[in-house]
Symmetry: C4
Subunit: 468 residues, 4 copies
């Protein structure tokens, strides 16, 4: 059972039930228009039916402008619009036209103000990274102490990759758009907004949890800072603690502190966003495969013409190409996301052996650990769903009756069963459900070995800068 | 060699030899009736032969009522009836109509008394779990001490899942029934009761061993309690020891002690039953594949019409669908069963390094360890037999002579060789024979690492509550 | 590169060059006879050629009796005759008629004197095992101390399995014989005796090395016994040392000592023989696949009739069935052989950290270690060669020209590429070249962990019975 | 993303842009000649076009002699000529005629002066190895101390294998040549010299880095020698340090020191060259697959005659055979290269825990470690590219339109999808991208275990000979 996508689907269903009156009306409108069209065309034979199935131009254009703002066209570009807009507030993916109706409005330019912001942030992040390297190299290098270094390197790497991804984004979205146009279309609004809802839900839940974690981390830091009391100013104490890499080099000053805080907030966002990005792309790809599968399911076990199968095969092939292109585009982000999560889970599990100095610490630590494991699991399962959906087509092909079995179906079935369609970490590993188990096994093994080197750290020792 | 199923098959054969007179008579009756039917139909051509092969309506209905109580129809529903009835005495799987002749009599209702008992037990188990959590959190948390916690969490999880499974059970059994009706039928009683016998034997042996283990555990506890002598009342001592999580919070009282004991007995049953359930479903699925394979074997190397192969292929596909549905239904139970067994084997192997305080302890401990390993092996091998049987069909297809080689055979062979038909642990791993080796390797690796943290516990130290 | 089989092939070639005059004459005789036959049949068309190719009845029967004693028929039964005879001297595989010309002379009987000897030895071995268990349980149980226990259990297990194998042997050899008769025959003596030579060479080298190892072990024991000097009698000292499990219970007596020595010699033989048996069966199976491949190679790239391919496919299928039957028959022996080797390599590598007390010890120890690793590697590589040879056919099918490509070739190619033909350890693992690496990796990992528990043993400490 | 080959491709592109005027002229000349040929043949139908496509005899031979020295024919023999010549200066691969235009000029002879040099070097290396063995056996044997022993054994093994490879080289190159002649030819100079450029770039970069590492090692050794000051002569100190295995046995003398130095230089070259050789062969094979793929890409999605596909399939098969032959030829070198790199990365990572005595040491050590990891990664990725390119053909076959789908395409697609085409380490493992991850995982696991035995070595302790 894929419980994570399932849970989310259930939640969505519940939400839609609440919202439904408007959508139900829209669907009824649309359906009645469609019926009228049918009545006008008395000889609605198979070809016509197929045409109306995938085209639906008649019914849709009747009152297009009136319903435009409520209508979904079910495209990936539309679904990720608001997500990308949010990301742009945090200096990621500076593409213009993300909320436009059509992907042809997308463009990337080095002179755009968003691009400049993004470059500025990368620059500032690199300075912060240098300060961190300086501080780490002046202390002892252990598995635990290099944590801020790895965290910030990952952020820089992801920012750079996201910038590069932004350059390719307009082209990629056009590719999506063309493939989506060709796929068997959904008829109801509910089916069309499914993917968009999943994506928005993932973004929303992810952001809320990451916000909660950041708040808890601040509370815990304030708590610790007030105990240690390096200076009289509690705000100063807080900043001295959370941006120790800056004030290890420079003297305290409010602008620097604010810069540090801003960096922290942005870093936290980006650290979560890289996982969310992988999930969103996975949801998009899986939903395209599902769109095809839903069509196959509708005609499961029926006698279909070879041309039907040939069409589906080409569509399947197109989604595979899309999947491979997206995989190449986000390969580095996936790789960073997985290795980062693996490292942090190992470190945090190891730190769970420490005695926690306060309740605030304990709450923050366990919330953070559970959130981390949950996020990793969510990324793995959503990414694996692309592979699962791509294999599901095979199940329907197995049920093709004897008489309809033709070379085209055979070719389709053989292609599905021999190809490996999945997102991957730079082709070094494929993201399937089996990966989850091997990652878990790896973590347990490393943990069992690492546990031998663990020495309990006295976290109430204020001189020791091992906090955070 | 699959020695476990083999052993059991041998035992069954020996048992049947004893019982045979009655069955032999029934078979003779049935066969003579069949012959008479044949004599009445002089033009028994191929189509007729097939019809009588799979239908056998003539011979069977002659004296149906008379022999009804001794006759097996070979269905899975019939075979698991008494098993589910037993389980219902222990608050598991509250479905009505488990012993009815036809699966359409099955039903689930929330208002049924069995469902209420089940919910009551889950409630009571959750209270017990909370007490255990309270006790564990107040002690030191080690790999060994969380044992009761994990044990009881698993019980709760399995109870909940079994309740959910009970809701789907009537539908699942109807699915089984439809597929069974369509399969090539066995002609003799002996073949028909094969599956039922295997299932009952597994249940019987499992229950006996688990009962023996529980007895030994009680003897060992009594022995220990009498040595420690916390109070003057030996019965009280015993309950104080075995239900320490209750009396850690509450004062001693007989009703509480009895409640605790009841919980213990039920928990022990459920802990064994989850493994037995996986085995039973595996036996059922494997036996359906075997039913198909026996038919393929009968016509191995002969010239058969394409329609024969097409029929077999559809039947094979149906069993695959059934297998996949059952896998989804019991996925969580399989997962819990395997991870639970893995954890307990690791813990018990580690504890085997302790010096045992008494002979009763030693006997109990080694019996329990061997039983645990044996049970895990049995679950793995029975579950793997589904995959093995599903692959065996391919062997017969390889022997199809050149002239009978047709697209249908080709399609059949390709589908078997490219599909993965097996039970799985929530799709994270497939239950095949290769899994056994990798599980064994994992246990050895973890054990070698864990052994470093082992410190011998003085089990005669009565203050230390590390008993059980 | 498969260096072990290669080395042996080179050695064989060199040997044959020496021996060749006789064989060359035989081949010339045979060839000239064949030519005469051809001259008598002027219209030697394709069908005739094929017939003479595989039949060769004309040429062979001309002077059959005269050359009989030098002629090989290339059957497996003939090749293993002397090997089994040797094994029977050591109470293994009590089958009658192993050196007969035809496998139909083989028979097994419980009342045969060889079977009785075998049963007697198993009985005696079980007594010895009990004594060993008694001694081990009275000492401390460590990874190293259970060595004699594991050694003797394996011997008992293998003896029992070999007895069971002996019962099935006549039937298995008839199966081999039938399949061999059907295969494309070799024409020259040199090709026919290839397999027999390989098998004899493996037996010879294996026995020589094992004899050398036993001698070295005796020298080392004598050396040690003379140093420790428990009694005045050096022979007595030696026996007290090497059969410590007997004299731990009983007082010293010469008959007991001789019994112990006999057990030692037999155990050593059987310990080596189980590996050799696996190698011999592997060589046999691989050579049957090679026989088929050599024929495919001869017609590689040529235009062949579909009937040719159909015939080859059936032959290939037959060898696969044979391979699967042999695998089932020796499954337990393979399993014991591999796990035994794995355990002993781990133990010996660990013991290599001890400081050796004398030169005799050092020489014995390193010879034994290298022999053990070499034998394990040899078993693995010979067993893997079955899989390699079975896959090699595919290479020739890939070169079938476009015009000869027919459904039969397609079916043949698909069957080879989708089936897994290899010996296995009770189906838990397949014996392929990839296994070697994973076994090596496992050994390294276990060794790295085990090394932490190692404490140097003072082997000159005569009180400590940790010798051997 | 395959970043290493990509990086190098980018660099090449940049370089070519600089060089292009000459090549552009050549291409223009060639193209205009081709056009003229076309104009003379007015009925340029499909067959003609194909002929000129792959033959291009008309245009090329016009001014062959004039442009000969600048022209590439794109053959592997031509591309590796200068590489082999360089290797011959370091006593590797003594084949005559490596820089000749045609591979038929290649020859190997035992009496050639290069062969004698090579044998002489092997002899001298064996003496050096014996001295090293003597020194190592007289010290304590640890994971770290056997380093020089393993280093020199590998060198000897590789030298011997390279000598053996040299014997087969002429034949192998003829095989390459024949296959290359048959492949679809490139038309422009730029495409033809692509492979040669990659190969030369890898050799150049590899040699430069290895030279830099050797220089740094010398600086670090001089630094250390001057600190320790065993004698007054700094040069003597240096040689005493770097050739300690020689002067452990013999007294210091300048000829011996020079001999040792020469050995060092040669060893370093060969140690790098074995990795470079694997990379070069990989580039060659991958580029042949790419040549075929580029042709498939050109006609992707078009309607092609069955004869086109049949031709491509045979060409693909030929490259596979070539790949398998090359794999057999360099199997031992690949195996040594990988195990050697694995061992040295483990040792160096472990040594990174030592405190470095000086800046020179630190720089040398980290440069050497990064170079080692980079080289291993490069070998793995280049070798994996053979597999990747071989699979890429499948992508184009998936896009064959419905009407052109014929048995030949089907056969081609099935062969690609079911065969495993890759370089391998003696067939024990295949060199694919997945291997990289499992090697990395193995290193981390071993490192985590080995780290427990690490004790910091005082490298300023001059008595201790643990330097180097």
């Amino acid at each position: 059972m894929r419980f994570l996508p399932k849970l989310e689907r259930k939640f969505r269903r519940w939400k839609k039930l609440k919202k439904s009156p408007l959508f139900r009306k829209l669907d009824i409108l649309c359906e009645s228009a469609r019926k009228r069209t049918f009545q006008q065309t008395p000889d609605a034979d198979y070809v016509k039916r197929l045409q109306t199935e995938y085209g639906e131009k008649g019914g849709k254009e009747l009152s297009y402008k009136r319903r435009e703002q409520f209508m979904y066209n079910g495209s990936f570009h539309e679904a990720v619009g608001s997500i990308l807009l949010t990301a742009q507030w945090f200096a990621m993916m500076p593409v213009r036209g993300v909320t436009a109706k059509h992907p042809s409005s997308l463009s990337f330019s080095w002179r755009n103000v968003r691009t400049c912001c993004c470059l500025l942030f990368i620059m500032s992040m690199l300075i912060n990274l240098s300060l961190t390297i300086y501080k780490v190299l002046n202390g002892s290098i252990t598995f635990n102490n290099v944590r801020p270094l790895i965290f910030k390197s990952c952020i820089c790497l992801v920012c750079g990759t996201a910038l590069n991804l932004a350059r390719k984004w307009p082209e990629l979205m056009m590719h999506w758009y063309e493939i989506e146009q060709d796929l068997p279309q959904y008829r109801t609004q509910r089916e069309k907004q499914r993917m968009a809802h999943s994506i928005k839900m993932v973004m929303f839940v992810g952001m809320m949890l990451s916000f909660a974690e950041h708040l808890l981390s601040m509370i815990s830091a304030i708590n610790y800072a007030s105990y240690c009391n390096k200076t009289d100013d509690p705000i100063r104490n807080f900043f001295l603690l959370t941006n120790d890499e800056i004030f290890y080099v420079f003297d305290y000053s409010t602008p620097l502190a604010l810069w540090g805080k801003l960096q922290n907030v942005y870093s936290t966002f980006i650290w979560n966003y890289m996982d969310i990005l992988v999930m969103i792309v996975s949801i998009g790809l899986a939903s395209k495969f599902r769109q095809l599968n839903d069509n196959l399911l509708k005609f499961k076990g029926m006698h279909m013409a070879p041309s039907y199968w040939s069409e589906r095969r080409v569509q399947y092939r197109n989604i595979c190409t899309l999947c491979s292109n997206m995989d190449n585009a986000i390969a580095l982000i996936t790789m960073v996301s997985f290795s980062n999560n693996l490292y942090f889970i190992c470190v945090q599990l190891l730190r769970s052996l420490n005695t926690m100095p306060s309740v605030a610490h304990t709450v923050y630590f366990y919330f953070s650990l559970i959130y981390l494991i949950g996020r990793t699991l969510a990324v793995s399962l959503y990414a694996a769903s692309v592979h699962d959906e791509s294999r599901r087509s095979l199940r329907y092909l197995r049920c093709v009756p004897k008489d309809s079995w033709c070379p085209e179906v055979k070719r389709f079935a053989e292609e599905i069963s021999s190809d490996m369609v999945a997102l991957s970490g730079m082709k070094f590993f494929h993201l399937t459900r089996k990966l989850v188990l091997s990652v878990a096994g790896t973590i347990v093994t490393y943990e069992l070995v690492l546990i031998q080197f663990h020495e309990d750290q006295d976290l109430w020792d204020c001189d020791q800068s091992s906090y955070s």
